[in-house]
Structure formats: structure tokens, C-alpha cells
């Protein structure tokens, strides 16, 4: 079972290495249909979620607090089971009903680092769990830390880092697995606006290299519009799809785009949609 997983992972890695140019690397594909979730005998938390993501899509999920965004993400990650409906995840031609361990990465709301391990060891953790040899996982962790500009901090412990640096380490840990699907649960929610903008730009730059598909939960409309090509607005009690909006801004996106009229128009559109959820609720 476990060896199976390592095998598939190793195969993906070789594919990635032999494919010239990161843009043509295989990227995940996600299909959610009729998804429903309730905890125990409780009321439905999520209902009628039907969603198709193409490879390379960047979906932002936004909605009132408690509407089930984290729950949706955890169901996609396989951390909790849906009550009804199906999730199909396609990778490299093979079709499997549950996402396999290392093809998807999860970035939690807080950095969620092991306090007793150095930053390098933290970044290497998923690889260690997958059974990689020490030399290889340390080399890859070092490369990832370079990518997120944390190389000088590799031997420090999480508490010795600032909140923004910790979040970068958390991103590096997710990227070290070379995922096809990135699931991010309000990763920058606790950071100040300047750090958040900076990390948003870095995130898109990293995506240019690795081309994963992303589901990104956020409370910030500007963040959603800046990052995503699709924004899912959820209503609450239960969480249903209120709107699925396209963000027609070309990638790569730059910091200056935030000032363009088109960007501001899209922000206004998402804000209006979110507002209509609130009106419907009250």
C-alpha cells in the first residue's frame, strides 16, 4: 500500500524531471458532484456542491464565516468524509476516487509547523513520511527554501521566525511534494496587508514554476480576485454555491494590476455577490 504510493510518486517525479519546461508538467483535475455534508445527526453544512476544475485552475472560495469553506477543503483533502456525492481526482491519466497522498498538498490557516524541528526538517517532513532518503529530502527542502527566500533560516526553529516567514516555510513544505493540487485554507489570514500582498505575488510566481491546480479559501475579496481565475461564493446554512464568477485577468499577474480599473471592477463584482448572500441571510 505504502510502497505503491512511493512508486507512483517516484514516477511522477521522473515525469516531472524528464518533461522539458515546467509548464507542460501534468496538473491535477478535480470534479465534485452532488457533494453534501452534515456532521452526525446535525443539519447540513454543505449541500449541492457541483464543481469542475480544469488543470491549472485557481479557484478562490469565499463566503460568510461558518458556511463550510474549511469543511469543503478538508473533504477534498480526504481528511473528512462527505455524506453524499463524489469527488473525482484525475492525475497523469489515471482516475482514482480519492486523492493519493502526495499529489495534493494542504496549507493550513496557521503555519502548523512542528515546533521541535528546524525549518529544513519541517519542509522535508512530507518527503520523510513518504520514505525518501535523508540526502534527497534535505536537498529538496533546501531547494524549496531557496524558492521561498528562506534559505538563511533553514536551521532555525519556528518560534525564531516572524509570522510571515513561518507561512513561507509552510508554503515550502507544501511545494516540496511537487503537488498537482494545492489546497489552502486562509493561509495569509493572520498576516498584515503588506506581507499578505507580497506573499500573494510570490504564490503566483511559484505557481508559474510548478503549475498546480489550487483551491484557496479566503475572507479577502481583493486576495481572491488577485489570485484566482474562478471565485466560488458560498451562502450559509447550509453552504450552497451562490455564484461561480470568472476572473478574466491574464497571468502572470503583477502588483500594479491591483490598481487597474478592470481589477477594481472585478472586486466590486465579487463584493456585490457576497453582499447579496448577506442580504439573503438576514
Amino acid at each position: 500500500m505504502k510502497e505503491d504510493r512511493i512508486d507512483t510518486l517516484v514516477r511522477t517525479m521522473t515525469e516531472l524531471q524528464t518533461t522539458p519546461g515546467a509548464t507542460t508538467a501534468p496538473v491535477g483535475y478535480l470534479e465534485i458532484s452532488g457533494l453534501q455534508k452534515s456532521f452526525g445527526e446535525g443539519p447540513a453544512v454543505l449541500a449541492d456542491i457541483n464543481l469542475t476544475l480544469a488543470r491549472g485552475d485557481f479557484l478562490a472560495v469565499i463566503g460568510p464565516s461558518g458556511c463550510g469553506k474549511s469543511t469543503l477543503l478538508k473533504i477534498i483533502a480526504g481528511l473528512i468524509k462527505a455524506s453524499a456525492g463524489s469527488i473525482v481526482f484525475t492525475h497523469s491519466g489515471a482516475r482514482a476516487d480519492t486523492p493519493s497522498a502526495l499529489r495534493r498538498a494542504f496549507v493550513f490557516q496557521d503555519a502548523n509547523l512542528l515546533p521541535w524541528a528546524t525549518i529544513a526538517d519541517n519542509v522535508a517532513l512530507p518527503l520523510r513520511l513518504a520514505g525518501y532518503a535523508q540526502a534527497e529530502r534535505l536537498a529538496r527542502a533546501a531547494a524549496m527554501l531557496e524558492l521561498v527566500k528562506l534559505a538563511p533560516a533553514s536551521q532555525l526553529y519556528p518560534r525564531e521566525l516572524s509570522g510571515g516567514m513561518r507561512m513561507r516555510a509552510s508554503l515550502a513544505r507544501a511545494l516540496a511534494t511537487q503537488p498537482e493540487l494545492m489546497l489552502l485554507d486562509e493561509p495569509f489570514g493572520a498576516l498584515d496587508e503588506m506581507t499578505r500582498d507580497e506573499l500573494n505575488e510570490d504564490l503566483l510566481e511559484l505557481r508559474e514554476r510548478q503549475r498546480w491546480t489550487a483551491v484557496f479559501v479566503t475572507h479577502s475579496v481583493t486576495e481572491a480576485v488577485f489570485l484566482a481565475n474562478k471565485v466560488l461564493v458560498l451562502s450559509a446554512n447550509p453552504g450552497r454555491m451562490h455564484a461561480l464568477l470568472d476572473i478574466d485577468l491574464p497571468y502572470p499577474r503583477t502588483a500594479e494590476m491591483r490598481l487597474m480599473p478592470e481589477f477594481l471592477r472585478l472586486v466590486a463584482m465579487v463584493t456585490a455577490s457576497l453582499h447579496s448572500v448577506r442580504v439573503k441571510l438576514s
Partner: protein, 281 residues
């Protein structure tokens, strides 16, 4: 010339400053000062109230008589240290194994924990005679008695640590497909470390008590070599009061070293990452 004077002045100031900060270091100065005051009061009390040696011997007499009895005392120290190490090792091994069982199976937790509590709450004084009947006089009984006194803090703390792992970190391990074994070794055990070490510190303080108490009730047949607890009993029967004080002092010393060692260990393990050891710079 002027320059040199100035720099010389600086150096004097620096030395004064160092001296001051050293003298004011509360961790060093106060205990020393208080110790000196205590010994002075000790002598004063003897002189003032004409206390005879069989009630309160003077510190220098304790030292002299300690030297006279040095063979017995040294043998006692070796034996007691040995008993402490055995009792402590038994508590750590037994405690950790029990904690892992309690943390990993809710069946064991529900079924076993009440009995652990019963065992903990039964006074050792009542159990000691039974243990001696079963295991005889000597080091075996002493180890078991000391285990009974020390194991509980380790079990209670470690179990709590193993069960209280951060939910988000458990999720993280699950996302990346960790096996139960990996979760135990890379997550639950390190996360339980601060709790385990707290239990260890309490146990370290209890261990000499266990060993000495075990000695007083089961120390007779420890291979001719009596531990400090038994030495104390003998000296008090012989009314060798200064030597008795010397034995008590050495028992204190063993306890002190033991606790010190565990504190050092805890510092070594946790200083880089745990909030209980904040770095100064």
C-alpha cells in the same frame, strides 16, 4: 596621557560594574548569603541555649564525625545512588510503556486507568510489608517501593501529552499519508516531550524519597551494604547524632544532584523550541 587615564577609568568602572552585577545576581548571591546567615544562627543557637550535641551538633562536628564514619557513609551513598537509579529507571520504563498503552487504546484507558489510580492512592506504607514478604529484604523490594512512589507523575503527564496532540498537526500527518508508526514517532512522542519531562522532574524529586524509605524498611539484607536510609536508622539507634546529620546531608545531596540532572536534561531537550525556555538573545 589624558586618553590613557580615561581608558583606565573605563576599565575600573567596567570591573566595578561586573562585580556589582555578579554580586547582585540573585541566583548566586542570595542563596550564599542566606546559607552563611543560617550557619551563623546555628552556632548562635547552640551557644545561646546551651544545646547539647545529641540535640543539635555544630556544623564542624558533623563534618568531623562524618569523616570518622566515612566508610559507612560512602557505602551508603553508593548503595542509595544505585537504588535511586534502579527505581528511577523502573519508573521511567514502566511509566512510559503504561502511558503508551493508555494513550493508544481507549479500552486500556477505561479499563486500566482506574486501577492505576487505586495503586497510586494506596499508601506505600501499607504495601511495603507485603512487598517485603513477596520479594524479601534487599534491592528488589527497594526498587519496587521506589517505583510505586515515583511512577505516577510520569504516567499521568506522559499520557496527557500523548493524548493532547494538536489536532491540526494530526491532520497534517494524515494529509501526507503518515502511518500510525510515523505519527507516533514523529508527532505524538515529540509533542509529549514537555509533559514527559515535567513528570520526570517530579519523579526525580520523589526517587530519593522512595529509595531512602525503601531502605529503612527493606534495607537490612542488601548484600551487607546498607543504603543511607538504613545508615540513618543505625546511627540514630546508636545515638551518633553528628554522623546522623552527616548522613541526612548526603541524602539531600543525592536528591539535589538527581533533580539537577533531570532539569539539565529537560533544558537540553527543550531549550531550542519550547516556550518554557525563552531565549535571551
Amino acid at each position: 596621557m589624558i586618553f590613557r587615564m580615561a581608558s583606565g577609568g573605563c576599565r575600573v568602572e567596567e570591573v566595578m560594574h561586573k562585580l556589582k552585577s555578579w554580586m547582585l545576581a540573585p541566583s548566586l548571591l542570595w542563596p550564599l548569603l542566606l546559607g552563611a546567615l543560617f550557619i551563623a544562627l546555628w552556632y548562635a543557637a547552640i551557644a545561646l541555649f546551651h544545646l547539647p550535641e545529641y540535640i543539635l551538633p555544630a556544623p564542624h562536628r558533623i563534618f568531623e564525625e562524618g569523616l570518622v564514619e566515612r566508610k559507612t557513609l560512602w557505602g551508603g551513598m553508593v548503595q542509595t545512588t544505585y537504588a535511586c537509579l534502579l527505581g528511577f529507571a523502573a519508573s521511567v520504563i514502566g511509566g512510559v510503556v503504561l502511558s503508551l498503552m493508555l494513550a493508544y487504546s481507549s479500552w486500556a484507558y477505561k479499563g486500566l486507568y482506574p486501577y492505576v489510580l487505586v495503586l497510586k492512592m494506596t499508601p506505600v506504607i501499607v504495601l511495603a510489608p507485603i512487598i517485603i514478604i513477596w520479594f524479601g529484604q534487599g534491592i528488589n523490594s527497594i526498587t519496587i517501593i521506589s517505583f510505586l512512589i515515583c511512577f505516577f507523575p510520569i504516567v499521568a503527564n506522559t499520557t496527557m501529552g500523548l493524548r493532547a496532540t494538536d489536532r491540526n498537526l494530526v491532520d497534517l500527518f494524515q494529509v501526507y499519508g503518515a502511518t500510525k508508526r510515523q505519527e507516533l514517532f514523529y508527532l505524538r512522542i515529540p509533542a509529549a516531550m514537555p509533559y514527559f519531562l515535567t513528570g520526570l522532574k517530579i519523579a526525580a524529586a520523589l526517587t530519593p524519597i522512595g529509595a531512602l524509605y525503601g531502605d529503612t524498611v527493606a534495607g537490612m539484607g542488601s548484600g551487607g551494604q546498607a543504603g543511607l536510609g538504613f545508615v540513618v536508622v543505625i546511627f540514630s539507634a546508636q545515638l551518633k547524632v553528628p554522623a546522623l546529620f552527616a548522613a541526612a546531608f548526603l541524602a539531600c545531596l543525592i536528591g539535589f544532584l538527581f533533580v539537577g540532572l533531570v532539569n539539565w536534561l529537560s533544558w537540553r531537550v527543550l531549550r531550542r523550541w519550547h516556550d518554557s525556555y525563552l531565549m535571551d538573545g
